[in-house]
Amino acid sequence: MTVPPGTADDPRLRRIHDIVARVQSGQGDGGDSQGDWLGDLLTAVETLAAEVETARAVADRTSRWLEDLMNVCLALVAFDYTKKAVISDDNDLFDGMAAALNMLGEELDASTVSVAYVDGIFESMSDALVIVGMDQHIKRVNQASCTLAGLSRGEIVGRPLNAIFPGVSVSDFIERDGAHAEEREMCVADGTVIPVSFSASLLRHKKAGAQEIVCVARDLTASKRAEAEQWQLREAMQRQAILVEELSTPLIPITKEVVVVPLVGSVDEGRAEQLTATLLTGVAERGARTVILDITGIRAVDATAVERIVRAMHAVQLLGARVLLTGVRADVAKQLVLVDTELGIPTFNSLQHGIAQALRWSHQER
């Protein structure tokens, strides 16, 4: 008798039952279900469906987790340590992996200097930085180098180092283990050269030894200009000092035989020497017979200054000329007495009286 298809006696249904039972039990055969095997089949299919749905949900979740973890890995590779993986409350293996990636990112962030950070330092330096290979060609420059040279990066990179810094040599730097603050020249865009302070150090890689040279150049133009200005100022001041010196101890002839030397200001050692020289010159060159030393304009007088003045006057006397001291104030008189009680030099309290006396002497001697 033929079994109508789709009915409970359909052997295909039985076969389906056996397959489902086998899948569920994981055994070689589906077991031998007696009784309501169609009911068993329905239950088994429903259970299997639930399992498949659960498996699909797990696969979906797994896929999302893996994508999230992959994104974090890619971020770490790009030195982006801010991206964090999501950790659920399930505390399963995925959560463990997420926690591990997050903590790894934290440790890397704390211990790794990013390329962007180093690049930032390189570009922000105000001195020109030039990296040169062992082949003497420039490999990298910072913005300050371009600004100083007036050239673009493309115009500098690839050129020999001595095209920008004439006379420098990589082999020389290697031999000397670098260079420090040497004054050199740098060729700039308009064809001129500018003075720079040039330093070079060897960049060594752990195993391979010196690989590159790091050169630093600082523009000395402004400091050279300042130096030159300072030099000019110093020269001007020196000239001025000489002029002041010359004006400070003038020799004023009254007659052929009488000269007046007015002293103004203070009398230090240098001034005293100058005074002596002026007096002696006046006597020797002019043939003056009387020298009037007027100290009206001298500031506060101490014993040392008075001594110097007295020595100068004695020097004049040795040449056979007479010396008169005028403009003697009370404080000077006090010091004079302490210094030289036997002065032997006529003193007058005013230049007028001194000149009058000198002229009387001249008249008497004619």
Binding site: D95, A99, E106
Partner: protein
Amino acid sequence: MPETKWPSSTGVIWIDDALGLMRFDYAPGSVCTLAEAKENVELQRKLLDGRRMPILINVRHAKSVDREARTYYASIDDFTAMALFGGTPVGNVIANFFIAVYGRRGIPTKLFTEEDDAIAWLETIAR
């Protein structure tokens, strides 16, 4: 007498007088930053009251302990030994990172997946 347990924002701390050690259990899903770490240490020090003893830290249910917190914990010198009780995926990661980065700082530190093993080890350290 039952021990008094002191709660913090990330767990609970108490002294097990019978075993002679301090215990700290991270609460499920707890996220520990530097602020929480400081809170925990302050509470621990209050309980220690100047004493030094081993500590058993249950990290099984913690969700995260960030780097600032880990660094802060590693700077604390209040304990003679530290046993980390893990055994869950996240707990093991937290414990292993701590030991890998700070494990050589002078205080014996070890990870266990069984609480009894952790206690036994701390007892040998204490002897």
